[in-house]
Subunit: 363 residues, 2 copies
């Protein structure tokens, strides 16, 4: 019996937020913050779920988890008919409920389960609800750890697909992009062509290190609005100013495409120009708060580039801001003045990986 | 020792020709016409390559094939620098040269080769140079047959990728869409976002049979122009009439997206409307000859739908026309009057598959 630890990265939207809702592409990147899941098989039948960060612990059994998953599946079917998020209340009620569903969905996919009990421990650097893909990361890591413990191959296409099924219990109709980027890591190109076709393409090159290491993420505060409310706000904008909005969509598609080329070429000047251009476009449609605009302007003035990343927020905070500067201290200095938390990250981190597979030492 | 036969389908572009060059999507479909490759291992070291249809036969050896492939790889490098198709003259010189390269590229990928000699026999229903994907089909089938003979798993992602490498020797910078659709079969969504990112997405549903069986392909005659010349003609159009061309691109993207939805839903009325709309758009940019326009108008008048599929041709023939009618005899009657060859096809045929794996009977 071995204890197995896997880890997966969080993610950000590098470019394409909001326009992605209208069939334009989005470029996603894995970040350095990671979520770990450890599975330690035991000799009894007890199943213990632990979240270190939230200081949660629960003992359960296969039967209990199966009952929860059956309930969740029934709820999901209702959601798929009526599209009302309230049907997912049970699956979303606690993190450990979601983990139970993840375990059973994984066993169900493989038609195989662990014979004895086990302890599953979650340890995460990813804040939930911050747009860093924490629920996708948890699904991928849980499936990945179980896959390895079952002795099955760590096929990322398969694991990403199982995790996508699991994430439906959390988000109803997730794009699949978050589970793909946290599973594959690196960069990912996503486009919803139509409701029945979401294309997901892992990018087969890495951002050159000299660029990848100069990014920094800034917490500008939780937006007063939910992502859904921001998406609705943009919809109203598109109805009021259709010509401007069409131009916004076309511009963001072009910026996303050019950004991928510039990252590939390691062309710093163009990368910075495009990040700033993306921000200008997002400001035009009204998804960036004045506070965030001020911060971003200061970063740009100091020779950097910055944009919101995610749905944004117009009233108070705008969520996470992505900034780039060859000298990251310039950015941290500005953020200290604003009393904003930052964390540096290399963009395009590795996806799902096994951290440790240790024989358990008997004492 | 077993003789193994694999087969792969040909393909057509269902929607998106020409606009695909400008970053818009294309929808491809596998057709009923197939190409077969049979490998029969022998006890000696002789390697015999046979094309039944072209009545070609050649004896060769691993060493000879390696020499040819080394030459082809050197040529391909030159092509990749200078982008001049003449560098590929050797690889394109005969079909069996291309097959030799395909064999060695496959062995090279797997770092494994057949120990003894073998006979490789090609039997194809796909006309070459007709836009039906014959060179991609040959690459996929050769790789597929070798993979099975080597006793390796028939992983379509891997085989499609090897075949894409092989097809470079034929087309220099192929999109990868033809090797993907002939390998996976069914329907395929393709989009060249930028030169370094071509997204290829196999569609995970089949066209409902009641629709899939009503398609018919019509040979309107080989175009006087090459595909390259037609692409150039469209480029000139885009420069002369940029506003019209922008509308064409937007319209074709919309038509492709709606067509996929209509095929998914089995919505015949909309499928027909969209095929005809796609044709109107292509006529506007001048890629459909008057002869083909007349034919298509007659099919539409008879209650059907039709469009060119592929690069088209303005002067004489326009290549293959795709037609749809609930009663296919209506179309064959019209084509008989024009003395045009037709073949019915179910759209979305199965991809690479093993047809036979027979122990060789000793006489």
């Amino acid at each position: 019996m071995k204890s197995i630890t896997v880890s997966v990265p969080g993610k950000i939207i590098l470019m394409g937020e909001h326009s992605v809702v209208y069939g334009k592409p989005a470029l996603l990147a894995a970040i350095d913050k990671r979520l770990q899941v450890t599975i330690t098989p035991t000799n009894d039948n007890k199943i213990v779920l632990i979240d270190k960060k939230l200081n949660l612990s629960e003992e359960t059994s296969i039967n209990q988890m199966v009952v929860s998953t059956q309930k969740a599946r029934k709820n999901l079917k209702q959601f798929e008919q009526d599209n009302q998020i309230k049907y997912l209340d049970f699956s979303r009620s606690t993190e450990l409920t979601y983990v139970k569903i993840a375990i059973i969905e994984t066993f169900a996919f493989y038609r195989k389960q662990l014979k004895n009990g086990f302890t599953l421990t979650i340890d995460s650097d990813l804040e939930t609800g911050s747009g860093l893909g924490s629920s996708a990361a948890l699904a991928v890591a849980t499936t990945g750890a179980l896959t390895a413990t079952l002795g099955l191959p760590l096929d990322k296409t398969v694991i990403s697909s199982i995790a996508h099924t699991i994430e439906k219990h959390m988000h109803g109709n997730p794009s699949g992009a978050d589970t793909a980027i946290t599973c594959f890591g690196g960069l990912l190109w996503y486009r919803k062509e139509i409701s029945i076709l979401k294309t997901i393409t892992p990018i087969n090159f890495a951002i050159p290190k000299k660029l990848a290491q100069n990014f920094i993420l800034i917490h500008t505060g939780k937006p007063a609005e939910s992502t859904g409310e921001m998406v609705h706000k943009v919809k109203l904008f598109s109805q009021k100013k259709p010509a401007l909005f069409t131009k916004f969509l076309k511009d963001q598609e072009e910026v996303s495409r050019q950004l991928l080329t510039a990252l590939h070429d390691g062309d710093e000047v163009t990368v910075k120009k495009l990040i700033n251009q993306g921000e200008i476009n997002l400001e035009k449609i009204g998804v960036v708060s004045l506070t965030a605009q001020t911060l971003i302007a200061q970063i740009q003035k100091a020779g950097g580039a910055a944009k919101i990343c995610g749905g944004g927020g117009a009233k108070k905070g705008s969520g996470i801001v992505l900034a780039y500067h060859k000298d990251k201290t310039k950015i941290t200095e500005i953020c200290q003045k604003h009393k904003l938390a930052t964390f540096t990250t290399t963009l395009g981190s590795e996806g799902l990986r096994i951290e440790r597979a240790n024989p358990i030492t008997k004492h």
